[in-house]
Structure formats: structure tokens, C-alpha cells
């Protein structure tokens, strides 16, 4: 569980909404589950957490980064298309 929290915080550093937002949400999240006692429930919660990091957080980070880069560094054809759109 501690490892999961660390992972969330580390990924949070790159998260578009910022590390503070991530820390707040993560704390809330973890405390909501603090009374889980069976090993199966705990394992399942940790697995959900890991999947969330992988499928939601990292995906959001990568998407934002490459969207920004694609916007900044348009290929000449893309730029011409974009210009035509603003003209019309």
C-alpha cells in the first residue's frame, strides 16, 4: 500500500493538474479504504490503484505532453490545414 502511494505521488509530479491536486486526491482515496481488512480486498484495491495510475494518470500525462508538442511543432501540411481552417 505504501508502495502504491509512492507511485501515485511520483507520477503526480508530471500530472497536468499538478502534484498538490494529486496528493489531496490520493490521501482522500487511501483514507476511504483504510478499514479494509481482508487480504483479498486489500490486494484488489491496490490492483485498482495501479491500473488507475497506468491507464488514467500516465495516459493523461502522455496525451497532454504530445498534444502540446504536436501543436507547437506542426508539420507543414498540418500547418497549412490549420491556417485554412482559421481563414474560413
Amino acid at each position: 500500500v505504501r508502495d502504491l502511494y509512492k507511485r501515485v505521488i511520483v507520477v503526480g509530479k508530471d500530472y497536468p493538474k499538478g502534484p498538490d491536486y494529486v496528493r489531496e486526491k490520493a490521501k482522500k482515496w487511501f483514507f476511504q479504504n483504510k478499514d479494509l481488512s481482508s487480504e483479498r480486498d486489500i490486494k484488489r484495491a491496490v490492483a485498482t490503484g495501479r491500473a488507475f495510475i497506468r491507464d488514467e494518470m500516465i495516459a493523461a500525462i502522455q496525451l497532454k505532453k504530445y498534444r502540446v508538442m504536436r501543436e507547437r511543432y506542426k508539420v507543414p501540411e498540418e500547418e497549412a490545414l490549420a491556417e485554412n481552417r482559421t481563414k474560413s
Binding site: 508502495d3 509512492k6 507511485r7 511520483v10 507520477v11 495510475i53 497506468r54 500516465i58 500525462i61 502522455q62 505532453k65 504530445y66 508538442m69 504536436r70 507547437r72 511543432y73 508539420v75 507543414p76
Partner: protein, 236 residues
């Protein structure tokens, strides 16, 4: 292919103490390509190189977390021009003797797009810049380049310098377990003097300015008003 491939990670932001060094996205793509070649057993070793202040070591750790085997940190607190960077990388390449040097096509701070090309000229190696696809065979590297109006495919003899364009790949995200593993990988630190390169620059930045803010457009009620405005502006 027995190759030492270098993903070069160039750290741009040095001047502002409050700004954290940022990983250059194009260099991340270069590192990713190198690691993919290692995954495909086309390369035997990936060495990541960075030039910058102490903070750049973090970038190196990220490259190693992505899969580079070891890191080389050329410690330098001064902002460097592309030619100096190319000379430093040449010194490293002559020491390491890789089959391929991979760099980002440009750094997002100066957008110079010069280092890779200069490096290839200084080394006398083949060059494949703006690479959007790299295929390695035993004898050569096939590089598809993004150029105005389309693509160009080159077959390069190794050793070669390749610079990565945006569409070459999408780099993996280095997760915590890999970052922890990367801490154990070796990093060699050296100074420009150790490599025999002078960091004196003949270029001086005179000014940096933001582009002028775009003027808001004006809405017109009808064609007559549009024509009147065009005439008033002197275009009719």
C-alpha cells in the same frame, strides 16, 4: 548487430535558478528509439548522455529508467551553444565508439536544430535528421526523414548520427520500479575540460521577446461595412 547506441538527452533550461531542468521531448523520443532497438536485440548497449548542471542527473536517471544501461553526465552550469554541445558529444563519441548516436532534432529552448547536423559533420559520419522511422540491418540504417512536402528514405552506413522527429515514436513513461532500478545503474561524471573542449562562446544573446499579441478581429454587420473598412484601410 552489435551496437552501442546512444540516446542523447540534452538539458535545455540552465539560466533561471527557479526553473527546473526539463527533459527535452525530442531527446526522450531518441532515448525511446535506442531502447526499442535494444529490446529488439539490434543494439547491445544504450548509453545516455546529458550536458548540464547537477540537476540534469535526474534526466539521466529517467533515461536509464526507460532502459538506458548507463549514463554520462558532462557537468556544466553555463548555457551552451549547439556547436559546443556538438564538440562535447564528439569527444564522448570518440571515447565510446558507438555505431549510432541518436539525438532529438532540436531542443525546445532554442529550437536551433543544429547539434545533430554539426555533430555528424565534426565526426565525418553519415547523417539522418528528422527521422520518423529507423530500421536497422546488419550493414546499414534505413532512415525515413520528414521533409517539406513528404518523406525521404536514406540508407546510411554506420556509424551514423540520427536526429529524432516528433513522429518517430511515443516514449514510454518511466514508472517507479524502473526509476528505483535505474538508481543502481552507473553514471560517469566529467567536465568539458576533461574532454578537452572549451566552452567559450562566440555568440551572445542580444534579446529575447515574446511575439506581439494578436489584435482582436472586428465583427462587421454586413458586406457594405466590410467593403467600407477595406477601403478605409487603403486596400481598394
Amino acid at each position: 548487430l552489435h551496437a552501442n547506441l546512444h540516446g542523447v538527452v540534452d538539458d535545455p533550461l540552465h539560466t533561471d535558478k527557479e526553473t527546473h531542468c526539463q527533459r527535452n521531448p525530442f531527446c526522450e523520443i531518441a532515448v525511446e528509439e535506442a531502447v526499442r532497438m535494444k529490446d529488439q536485440k539490434l543494439a547491445s548497449e544504450v548509453v545516455a548522455v546529458t550536458i548540464g548542471p547537477t540537476q540534469s542527473q535526474e534526466t539521466l536517471r529517467t533515461a536509464m529508467a526507460m532502459g538506458a544501461d548507463r549514463g554520462v553526465h558532462i557537468k556544466c552550469d553555463q548555457e551552451l551553444q549547439p556547436l559546443t554541445v556538438a564538440k562535447l558529444l564528439k569527444a564522448v563519441a570518440e571515447k565510446e565508439k558507438p555505431d549510432m548516436v541518436l539525438l532529438g532534432k532540436q531542443a525546445i529552448d532554442d529550437d536551433a536544430n543544429q547539434t545533430g547536423q554539426m555533430l555528424s559533420a565534426l565526426l565525418g559520419w553519415s547523417q539522418g535528421s528528422f527521422a520518423s522511422k529507423v530500421t536497422a540491418t546488419k550493414e546499414s540504417l534505413e532512415v525515413v526523414r520528414e521533409i517539406d512536402g513528404g518523406t525521404e528514405t536514406l540508407s546510411l552506413k554506420m556509424p551514423a548520427v540520427v536526429t529524432a522527429d516528433l513522429r518517430l515514436n511515443e516514449p514510454r513513461y518511466a514508472t517507479l520500479p524502473n526509476i528505483m532500478k535505474a538508481r543502481k545503474k552507473p553514471v560517469e561524471t566529467m567536465s568539458p575540460e576533461d574532454l578537452g573542449v572549451s566552452i567559450d562562446t562566440k555568440l551572445k544573446t542580444v534579446s529575447v521577446a515574446e511575439p506581439p499579441t494578436r489584435q482582436a478581429g472586428a465583427m462587421v454587420a454586413d458586406v457594405n461595412e466590410l467593403v467600407a473598412k477595406i477601403k478605409a484601410a487603403g486596400f481598394a
